[in-house]
Symmetry: C2
Subunit: 386 residues, 2 copies
């Protein structure tokens, strides 16, 4: 087990009907907030009304930044920073999923920065101050509701990059699983793929002797698979949704990364090139990339891939190589079974585009911890996605 | 899954050699601290020197309260409160295990209380303020290094009671697994019994549909059993110790209780009567009580006890009642195998004392969530300990 520091100050308020507490939580630091949300589904499902009613009840003023899209973009962040500065807000309320939260985190850091906040994504600036961030989560996937990270796409440079700071943890995140019952099945499936990929990025980073973390990782994956299957049948199954929602948070709140070497993150790096170039949902992109990455690297740690096959899919095969391959195939079949794409053609990306994707990924290569990947490796992995 | 609030602000610094950082951490709030420790083992194993050197390097003054014993007592707490007030300290550094940490938490709360701090244990006072607490952990068992609870014995009234406040979470806890290599095997075994019992108190509280928490619970128990077995062979096996240490913290840092009904806590309540009356190590008392409690209550939730038998001990038995009984027996055998007592006579408590123990427990009955226990139930459970 590796040395680590774990410190996660986010308060989680979990349960049906808890959104009405947002105003009371915000009140502890803020009187005038930027209210950030997406394309308006929160107006249809009643969440917007719950949030604004709760803010008004505490006399908290708000200015709105709406229209945040999946794969959120830097131009929208800059719009938000300007709006936040003009309105002299003292906090941000993010109502949505990862895109909304990550946009909010970046605005919160950019609020205290005179220069370009993109510098935080390319290692030229480390934010030491941030507006307090409050979250009302409406879709579970990224885990951003309980960590200090954010992923944003710079449309001009076609870079989908991330930053992380201690100051970017939300103060409070309210998780009401019942509001996710109205999501279309593909969004739940995309979430499942994203959650599971977070576990894999950590689990398959090559660190030995982290039994307690491996146990937790496998437990999260088994739970997410079971609950996703239940949600495909009944999206309003509260207990399945609640276990899914909390598992999503636990997958990337830092606990599951303790004692490890920091994670591999190759699949994310490659997928970020896909969704920087195409209109691809992150979870869908990962469902294509993750099994291909596994096929490409499993021999580096065949024991671990065989363990995964056994503990997640119950594959009882003494030949570790065979077990690993069957496990990877089972994962791919499961993605298919819940309606996820498993090839580039499923994503409508032509095979002739592979070089273009490799070129985008090359802005970040080498990456990966289990196996350090160069552009030629990325190309081989993308060929396995055909 | 039940609604919950989770908020754990303790920062964990984990790894070999990290104790030298204690001064730097303390510096953020305190200049003059009460240094609390036990019977002097920290002077023999070098921990005392590491801590005081680090404090001195940051010019942090300290006054010492030593001699904290297992099953820590109120008189010692009061001595500490007086010392802390006289010396005008602005922080506490607890160097030890649960007894030292719980004594420190109580002093930290009592520092701001004019009246008797025992009131916090009998529900007459809720501490809203506390001195900042820093921990250097030297024995893993209670999980107190990352929660807001404390257990203290009032020698006069023979009450071993607990309190919990939001203000009592340590600011920082430093966990260096390597310093636990010098512990005698029985102390590691007692720790294992305590850790596992925390998981059981939560796991067997009757809540349904908490799959993600059940997975984590079972993962902790399997890890603790495996690592304890390894430590019985080699107490200095670093990776086994590190997984054991971190599992102990995770077992009672709140995560594993989320979504549940608050835990059962009957075994702890009964054991607290044992260690209030006799010189019994908490973990040893639990090794006697837990299997007896299980035998007495398993029929209330036979499905869960059968699940435990299957997931922890691999018992593949379709008859749930049989599986449950075999699982309980396997647990008892395992306690025996690591040198723990499994009967009252192993603890040198005569059977004629049962009524006296029941009388002590009756100060708290009824207790228990899976099955609410009256004094007559406690008596039956104690008879199963013969």
């Amino acid at each position: 087990m590796k040395d680590f520091v774990f410190h996660n100050p986010t308060k989680i308020v979990f349960g049906k009907g808890k959104i009405s507490q947002i105003g009371e939580e915000v009140k502890s630091t803020s009187k005038r907030v930027l209210l950030v949300y997406g394309k308006g589904s929160i107006k249809r499902n009643g969440v917007y009304d719950q949030v604004t009613k709760s803010l008004k009840a505490q006399n908290i003023e708000f200015v709105e930044l709406s229209g945040i899209k999946p794969n959120p973009v830097l131009s929208k962040v800059n719009e938000g920073i300007n709006l936040a500065k003009e309105a002299h807000v003292d906090g941000i309320v993010a109502v949505g999923g990862g895109s909304v939260i990550d946009t909010s985190k970046t605005i919160a850091a950019g609020f205290y920065r005179d220069g370009d906040i993109w510098d935080a994504f390319i290692g030229k600036y480390k934010a030491k101050k941030s507006l307090p961030i409050y979250v009302v989560l409406t879709i579970s996937a990224t885990g951003s509701e309980m960590n200090g990270g954010a992923v944003i796409t710079n449309e001009e440079t076609k870079q989908k990059f991330s930053f992380w700071t201690e100051k970017s943890y939300p103060r409070v995140s309210i998780l009401d699983p019942s509001v996710q019952g109205s999501l279309p099945p593909i969004q739940t499936a995309n979430g499942a793929s994203d959650i599971i990929s977070h576990v894999f990025e950590l689990y398959f980073d090559g660190t030995k002797n982290v039994q307690i973390m491996d146990e937790i990782s496998e437990g999260i994956v088994r739970t997410v698979i079971d609950c996703t299957n239940a949600l495909m049948k009944d999206p309003n199954d509260y207990d399945a949704r609640a276990n899914f929602v909390w598992s999503a948070t636990l997958a990337l709140n830092g606990i599951n990364g303790t004692g490890r070497s920091g994670g591999d993150w190759s699949s994310h790096a490659i997928e970020h090139s896909l969704s920087a170039l195409y209109d691809v949902a992150h979870g869908s992109g990962l469902a294509v990339i993750v099994p291909a990455w596994m096929r490409y690297v499993y021999r580096v740690d065949v024991e671990k891939f065989a363990r995964f096959a056994n503990t997640v899919f119950g594959i009882d095969e003494t030949d570790q190589e065979k077990a690993a391959i069957v496990g990877i195939e089972r994962l791919k079949s499961w993605y298919k079974s819940i309606g996820l794409p498993v090839s580039l053609s499923d994503l409508n990306i032509p095979s002739k585009d592979i070089d273009k994707i490799v070129e985008n990924a090359a802005m970040r290569t080498p990456f990966g911890r289990l196996k350090k990947l160069q552009p030629s490796d990325v190309k081989e992995i993308l060929k396995l996605c055909l």
